[in-house]
Amino acid sequence: MKNVIIISLLGVTAYYLLSAFVSIPFGEDFINGVKDFYLNKSPEDLKVANVVTSIVVNFRGFDTLGEVTVLFLASTALGSILYRRRSSHTALNPQRTAPQASTLVQAGAKVIFPFTVLLGAYVFIHGHLTPGGGFQGGAIIATGFLLMLISYRKFFVEHNVLTWIEALAGTSFVVIGLAGLVYADNHNFLENFLPAGELNDLLSGGIIGIIYIAVGFKVGAEITGILDTLLTIKEAGLDPEEN
């Protein structure tokens, strides 16, 4: 009964939403808006080949700051949700619940790990040239760490280092933004104050590349932190602190 009600409710929703969406057909160039400006300015003024990157980091860089914050927030919130009062004891000897992976996996992980990290680094360094960027690169790096975390029970991410990377990467994003207030022409937050360089050059795009590197570090560190938090949580069962 409830099933029917909900399906019909969702059906009504679907009808209205679909009718709104199909009003302009798929794939038609209908929008006369900001996108043309972005498509023009990105290669010309910013010298950034990847327009998505230039939007994400420059035109709408403020969103990205928010986005990085969301990840930071998620990792902090995760910490605050899963913290333990006497964490000092367990921190010395944290137990990961994962069973030891097979030797094959371990060996493979060891080989793949540096390449993954390198790939991630490549992705975010070339964020303004090719598809990908800070988020993707950071996520890839985190995947590499994930591989290590699940292969080796004794592989521990140094929390201090993570904290530093997180803090410094986030800080440099904001500081670069604030530097724009001082050094850039229009004195705006996140405004580019470095020479733009040449299109399709690695050192093009001014602060975009730098910000994306910061984002990459930040995202990588955050996600690794999230995974580490989730992986070191205690084994299943009732938590005495909760009751």
Binding site: I81, L199, L230, E242
Partner: protein, 120 residues
């Protein structure tokens, strides 16, 4: 063809979204609910990208091959937005799962019907 694609892509995206919502509304398992949220997010992301697509457009990257040729490019704005949305969705999922773990430890169940200490 155009109309068919319009309906099929938008329809699938919305369908995926509403399927996720269905799981949120009907499934009793907390993890299933979170899966539902994530499926709904996926549908939404597809919708975003589909809206940004332009017939015959290339990816909005001025690689040396494309630069200066004046090719049509897809709309980069929804792509940029969906990047943000994906990351935000990931963050929310992570928090939700952490909460599920907390709830499981307190109530020893993942059935949402049994977790209602707070009511009225």
């Amino acid at each position: 063809m155009q109309a068919f694609l319009t309906y099929s892509i938008y329809g699938t995206a919305l369908f995926l979204m509403l399927l996720g919502l269905y799981a949120v509304l009907m499934k009793k398992n907390l993890i299933k609910i979170v899966i539902g949220l994530s499926v709904a997010d996926s549908g939404l992301h597809l919708l975003f990208v589909a809206v940004g697509y332009i017939n015959g457009g290339t990816a909005p990257i001025f690689s040396p091959a494309v630069a200066g040729t004046g090719t049509v490019m897809t709309d980069p704005v929804p792509q940029a937005l969906v990047l943000t949305a994906i990351v935000i969705g990931f963050g929310v999922t992570a928090v939700a799962l952490a909460l599920v773990v907390r709830l499981y430890r307190k109530h020893n169940t993942t059935n949402i019907d049994e977790i209602k200490n707070l009511k009225w």
